[in-house]
């Protein structure tokens, strides 16, 4: 399997030029990461760990200070690749209000395609498809400000998938949503990954969301500290706690039971698994 996104010795710093002398904050130090095609990767890390910065390196918003990032073989440093990279790796941001450009849902979904110079008939087709995929087709003529947070975020996602990208980077897409909106967005993301084979890079604060990924990358102060399947990552409860991160509730429960001397696996990340394990313990007792 080829490496779809590849970061090699990636270093990135923000430079605050207002201060005298300019202050440099090193955000990413020597990141090496490969993301494969069709993968669903969750990126975890507490605030300021550099996870958003990393995602922005993947679609050439941030250009590495040293090292290289390639997307589908294209180097993000090369200006000529810019549009091609952004077409390949679309990005969804945290606040849906700040990424919707047009005053009508379908116009907004069409925005990226209009920028790419796609033929009008083709735009129409792709916009309808994208809206159907996220389940917002019946709202196509609504004004975005009248929709709920979850609906707005799905419109924003539709705006990205209309470009038919091979990869979508989501920067805390559920942070501003209520539980219902969160569930809607997660369902859409998973469906895109499973049914349409879109590579997903999901930056999140919610452990339950990360648990649904194929792979979790944990970042702390600009370094990758863990990179494994969810079960393995969450089984290291104390390490995660030291990094200022949580584990899913069920993992926490299993961890507690294990410590109390019960025979239970620490690789429990879903409710079903937890129920099964608890049933077994209760049956034994």
């Amino acid at each position: 399997m080829s490496d779809f996104i590849q970061a090699k010795n990636l270093k990135f710093s923000y430079i605050n030029e207002i201060e005298e002398p300019p202050v440099r904050t090193e955000v990413l130090k020597d990141i090496n990461l490969e993301i494969h095609k069709g993968e669903f990767v969750a990126v975890l890390g507490h605030n300021g760990s550099g996870k958003s910065t990393l995602a922005k390196c993947f679609n050439a918003i941030n250009i590495p200070e040293s090292g290289t990032v390639t997307v589908n073989g294209l180097d993000t440093k090369d200006e000529d690749n810019l549009l091609e990279i952004r077409k390949t790796a679309g990005m969804v941001f945290q606040n849906p209000d700040n990424q919707i450009v047009a005053t009508i849902v379908e116009e907004d979904v069409a925005f990226a395609l209009e920028n790419m110079g796609v033929e009008p008939n083709e735009i129409r087709k792709r916009v309808d498809e994208a809206l159907k995929t996220v389940g917002m087709y019946e709202y196509r003529e609504h004004a975005p400000h009248k929709l709920s947070g979850g609906q707005k975020q799905r419109v924003a996602i539709a705006g990205v998938i209309a470009m038919q990208p091979e990869c979508i980077l989501l920067d805390e897409p559920t942070a501003m949503l209520d539980p219902k909106g969160r569930a809607e967005v997660m369902k859409t993301i998973k469906q895109l990954n499973r049914e349409h084979g879109v590579t997903i890079v999901l930056i999140t604060h919610y452990m339950e969301e990360a648990a649904q990924a194929d792979r979790i990358v944990v970042i702390d102060s600009g370094d990758i500290v863990m990179d494994n399947v969810p079960k393995k990552v969450f089984s290291q409860v104390s390490t995660l706690k030291n990094l200022g991160l949580d584990v899913p509730q069920v993992t926490q429960l299993a961890y507690g039971l294990k410590k109390a001397g019960y025979d239970i696996s620490t690789e429990i990340i879903t409710e079903d698994e937890c129920v099964e394990a608890l049933e077994r313990i209760l049956a034994d007792a």
Partner: protein, 267 residues
């Protein structure tokens, strides 16, 4: 509540006027303005009035909207009337007292000007009543596109318009939130002199400005992520098309215009 405001004064509908190509509507509105100023006989002006009434009738815009659009310009109407009444001193004397002199020419011109201004406002309002702001922006962008040759940033201006329209409700909502937050902390915005109330708005405006800049930055980023690179090589999903309705509208306008010219010469 505050969320429900309509942007502009668009009045959704499916009448022939609504269905017209916005570009044609803009051009015909301009023709209409010229028509009103070409008409210098009373019959010509009546045709202008008839045209306005006719356009409103087929657009099915409720009559009270006419009054609504006239309200803000009442002072201007009165001002023009008075000015014309007192300062035109030619023609037959009707009334004289001290330095005040009213002549029949003065009365004529005053009435003419008032009718003209009313028709002008009412007629042009029809454009904004029957065209959504987004269509309007779109049409303006396309009508002005020849100006691109002399380096006028037409696309950029239209994009700014669109974004402004898009963010009006968002910013209103935000203002509402900030005001509530300030009120919850004891800010008093409803009582006191105008100066005092204006001063009470400062703690609302500053956070609003700061957050607008933050929004602008994020929006710019989101637009870049969606391959925005200016107007070059851009296509549009919705193509504006000139249809039958537009040809009929043009024909009707031409007939009215011709009528006015004929009357100007005959009467």
């Amino acid at each position: 509540m505050i969320k429900d405001i309509t942007i502009g004064q668009f009045f959704p509908g499916k009448s022939p006027v609504h269905r017209m190509d916005p570009r044609v509507k803009i051009v015909l509105t301009m023709v209409f303005i010229i028509m009103l100023f070409v008409a210098d006989k009373i019959w010509g002006l009546l045709i202008g009035i008839a045209f306005t009434v006719f356009a409103y009738a087929i657009s099915r815009i409720p009559g009270k909207m006419i009054l609504k659009c006239l309200k803000p310009i009442v002072p201007i109407i009165i001002f023009t009337a008075v000015l014309n009444l007192f300062f035109i001193r030619t023609g037959k004397k009707l009334f004289e007292a001290g330095f005040i002199l009213i002549t029949d020419d003065g009365v004529n011109t005053a009435v003419f000007m008032v009718v003209r201004i009313i028709c002008l406002i009412v007629g042009t309002s029809l454009l904004t009543y029957t065209t959504s702001p987004i269509d309007l922006t779109d049409a303006i962008e396309r009508l002005l596109s020849p100006l691109k040759l002399i380096k006028v940033p037409v696309h950029e201006l239209a994009m700014m318009m669109t974004i402004a329209l898009r963010f009006i409700p968002t910013l209103i909502e935000e203002t509402d939130k900030i005001m509530s937050a300030q009120k919850a902390r004891g800010a008093d915005m409803e009582t006191g002199s105008i100066v005092k109330r204006a001063r009470a708005l400062v703690p609302v405006l500053i956070p609003l400005f700061v957050s607008s800049f933050r929004r602008a930055e994020e929006l710019a980023l989101a637009m870049e992520c969606r391959c925005y690179h200016g107007g070059e090589g851009r296509t549009r999903m919705k193509q504006l098309k000139v249809s039958c309705v537009d040809f009929v509208a043009v024909a009707v306008t031409v007939v009215f215009f011709a009528g006015i010219i004929v009357i100007n010469h005959l009467v």
